[in-house]
């Protein structure tokens, strides 16, 4: 095992896949000479050159659309959107083409395109730069949605994304890039659709993904001191969604809290809650709780921003409501 950051893990995954498969190339704003806005692609242009590491103009719609076309043309593009907020300029190509081409054309084509984008709030970047938009993509059939929470998953899931055949929204959290974690030395993949039980417990199930996994783990520590034994599950991918692991846990604990950073209303956690109610209503001893971002555009002021975001304290409070 090696102790590296989430950022380095992503960088390693990209290098290994660039080495393995000549069809893999990267394009996006500032991914080359600048090394990526969050330095994920640092050093790649020196190692792989301008053909495979391509700086693009600020043209999100066409960067993603060209990624779709290149994928249909037989390549394995990794498109980096500087942040998820700019995916909104490209949502036409994501939803109307990437996610639909295979089905709409009767299974005769495929779009093995990986769209990487950092997301999330907490840095006082204001309303247009702090969003978590996974729900937009989870709503749409035909595109996978992956949100690694640890360095090991960042690497293994990105490598897996580049081996499977469907388009993927690969959503990284801006607050996790500096997070260190143990990463296996040998080659490994983390397949989609397999949730990770990060902590076992018998009293309540806390379901999370991306950065909120860490909030949930902090909350579990606090709860432990209060005598509540929480199980924490990292969903890892929202499409495919490993509801089986969640249901198994809920059968044991009879209580569930779902935590996500997107807006509360219509968030991906609502889908998880529905699936639990549909399949395990009788197992529940209390109503499912959600902890998410307040339904507001993100305010700049630091106190307001902190109040708008989910926190370990809110998770503890949600658990206390149903214990």
């Amino acid at each position: 095992m090696a102790l590296i950051t989430y950022r380095e893990a992503l960088n390693q995954a990209l290098r290994e896949e660039l080495d393995r498969d000549e069809r893999v190339f990267i394009m996006g704003e500032e991914v080359g000479y600048f090394g990526g806005a969050f330095k994920v692609t640092d050093g790649l242009i020196a190692a792989y050159g301008e053909k495979r590491i391509r700086d693009t103009p600020i043209s999100e719609l066409t960067i993603v659309g060209a990624g779709v076309g290149a994928a249909m043309g037989g390549l394995r593009p990794v498109v980096e959107l500087m942040t998820i907020n700019f995916a909104l300029l490209a949502i036409d190509q994501i939803v109307n083409t990437a996610a639909k081409a295979r089905y709409m054309f009767g299974g005769q084509t495929k779009v093995p395109l990986v769209i990487r984008a950092p997301q999330g709030g907490g840095h006082q970047l204001g309303a247009q730069h702090s969003q978590s938009l996974e729900a937009y993509f989870v709503h749409c059939p035909g595109i996978r949605v992956a949100l690694p929470a640890t360095a090991a998953d960042a690497k293994g899931m990105l490598k897996y994304a580049l081996r499977q055949e469907d388009p993927v929204m690969f959503l990284e959290h801006e607050s996790l890039y500096g997070l260190k974690g143990e990463v296996p030395e040998d080659e490994y993949l983390v397949p989609f659709g397999k949730a990770n039980v990060m902590r076992e417990g018998k009293d309540v199930t806390i379901v999370a993904y991306s950065k909120t996994v860490h909030d949930a783990l902090k909350a579990a520590d606090i709860l432990e001191n209060q005598g509540t034994d929480a199980e924490v599950i990292d969903l890892r991918t929202l499409n495919p969604l490993d509801i089986g692991t969640v249901l198994e846990s809920v059968k044991k604990t009879a209580r569930a809290v779902i935590v996500y950073e997107g807006w509360l209303t219509g968030g991906a956690g609502a889908e998880v809650a529905s699936r639990i109610y549909e399949a395990a209503f009788d197992d529940l001893d209390a109503p499912i709780q959600r902890v998410a971002s307040a339904d507001v555009p993100m305010p700049y002021n630091r106190h307001l921003e902190a109040a708008a975001l989910p926190s370990p304290g809110q998770i503890v409070a949600a658990v206390e409501r149903i214990m």
């Binding site: 704003e29 500032e30 000479y33 600048f34 806005a37 700086d55 693009t56 103009p57 600020i58 043209s59 999100e60 719609l61 066409t62 907020n85 700019f86 909104l88 300029l89 840095h123 006082q124 970047l125 204001g126 309303a127 247009q128 730069h129 307040a294 339904d295 507001v296 555009p297 305010p299 700049y300 002021n301 630091r302 106190h303 307001l304 109040a307 708008a308």
Partner: protein, 322 residues
């Protein structure tokens, strides 16, 4: 130059000086942790905002980007409320909700800083539509960077504004870089003003370090727009004296290049013009320098002492509440 009276020239000098001092102070406050988030400074580009807005009336509208402190101050905003916004205070120009990238003041007709590259152009086009719809005499001045040209929104806005002869002036601040990317690595046509041609509108390139040249070009474009002849594209060549944002050391630029542009400092240049050609005493300008330093210090004090927005107001203004 010769059409401007001495008091106008001094006002131009004062505004450019204010913006430079303001931005220098913002950098200091950022380093001290009083300002956070993304913060993009306008130092070096002052002649564009000040020149352009001197060519317009108070009732004309401005739309800008995330690098908009200078435009907002040139439009007449009090440095106090702009600084307070950067401090995230409730007295800020956007009540502490927007921050550096999202200044707004409807009374000044400063219609917002937008942080999505290219996002301001359709807004400006729509504001111009509202003016034309009512038959009002105002124009919209829309500032954006070279980085916006590869966006569809740029092309779609120029086409629509031209098609409908809308009163909007598109001012492209070409500072040669969009973050770390040189214009020639992002745009197939480096002479950005030529993008006016396919949209059948006037396109002109001006020296964005020369406040009078910017003023003249915008005045002309405004007159045309007010006559119902539609939009213009002005490309102002400029240089940002600092990194893209407070977190960018700008390692992609050579020290030599930076020095060459520092020599073309729009404020120093204008000062020389005033003292040499208009025979204005340096002491008059020194006094303005001191006054603006004091104005900025006062803005910091105001911002520092202002209250935080109350937590109880987190959900206020998501919708219009009666």
């Amino acid at each position: 130059m010769y059409r401007l009276a001495e008091d106008e020239l001094l006002e131009i000098y004062r505004l450019m000086t204010l913006i430079r001092r303001f931005e220098d102070k913002v950098a200091e406050m950022y380093t001290r942790g009083k300002i956070t988030g993304f913060c993009h400074l306008y130092a070096g580009e002052e002649a564009i905002a000040v020149g352009a807005l001197h060519g317009l009336y108070d009732k004309d509208y401005v739309v800008s980007t995330y690098r908009e402190h200078g435009h907002c101050l040139a439009k007449g905003a009090s440095p106090r409320v702009v600084m307070a916004e950067l401090f995230g205070k409730s007295t800020g120009i956007s009540k502490g909700r927007g921050g550096s990238m999202h200044l707004f003041d409807p009374v000044l007709r400063f219609m917002g800083g937008y942080a999505i590259v290219g996002g301001g152009l359709p807004i400006a086009t729509g504001l111009a539509l509202s003016i034309a719809y009512r038959g009002d005499p105002e124009v919209v001045c829309c500032f954006f960077g070279d980085g916006a040209l590869p966006q569809g929104a740029f092309h779609e806005s120029l086409n629509m504004a031209s098609l409908w002869k809308l009163p909007v002036i598109f001012v492209c601040e070409n500072n040669f870089y969009g973050m770390g990317t040189l214009v020639q690595n992002a745009i197939c046509q480096e002479e950005l003003y030529r993008f006016a041609d396919p949209y059948k509108i006037p396109g002109i390139r001006v020296d964005g370090m020369d406040v009078i040249e910017v003023y003249a070009a915008v005045s002309e474009a405004a007159a045309r727009a007010r006559e119902g002849k539609g939009p213009s594209l002005i490309e102002a060549i400029t240089y940002r004296f600092r990194g893209h944002s407070m977190s960018d050391p700008a390692e992609y630029r050579s020290k030599r290049e930076e020095r060459l542009w520092q020599e073309r400092d729009p404020i120093k240049r204008f000062r020389t013009l005033l003292t040499h050609e208009r025979r204005i005493a340096p002491s008059v300008l020194d006094k303005i320098d001191q006054e603006e330093t004091a104005v900025v210090d006062d803005a910091v004090k105001f911002a520092d002492e202002s209250p935080e927005p109350p937590l109880s107001e987190l959900t206020k203004n998501v919708y219009v509440e009666e």
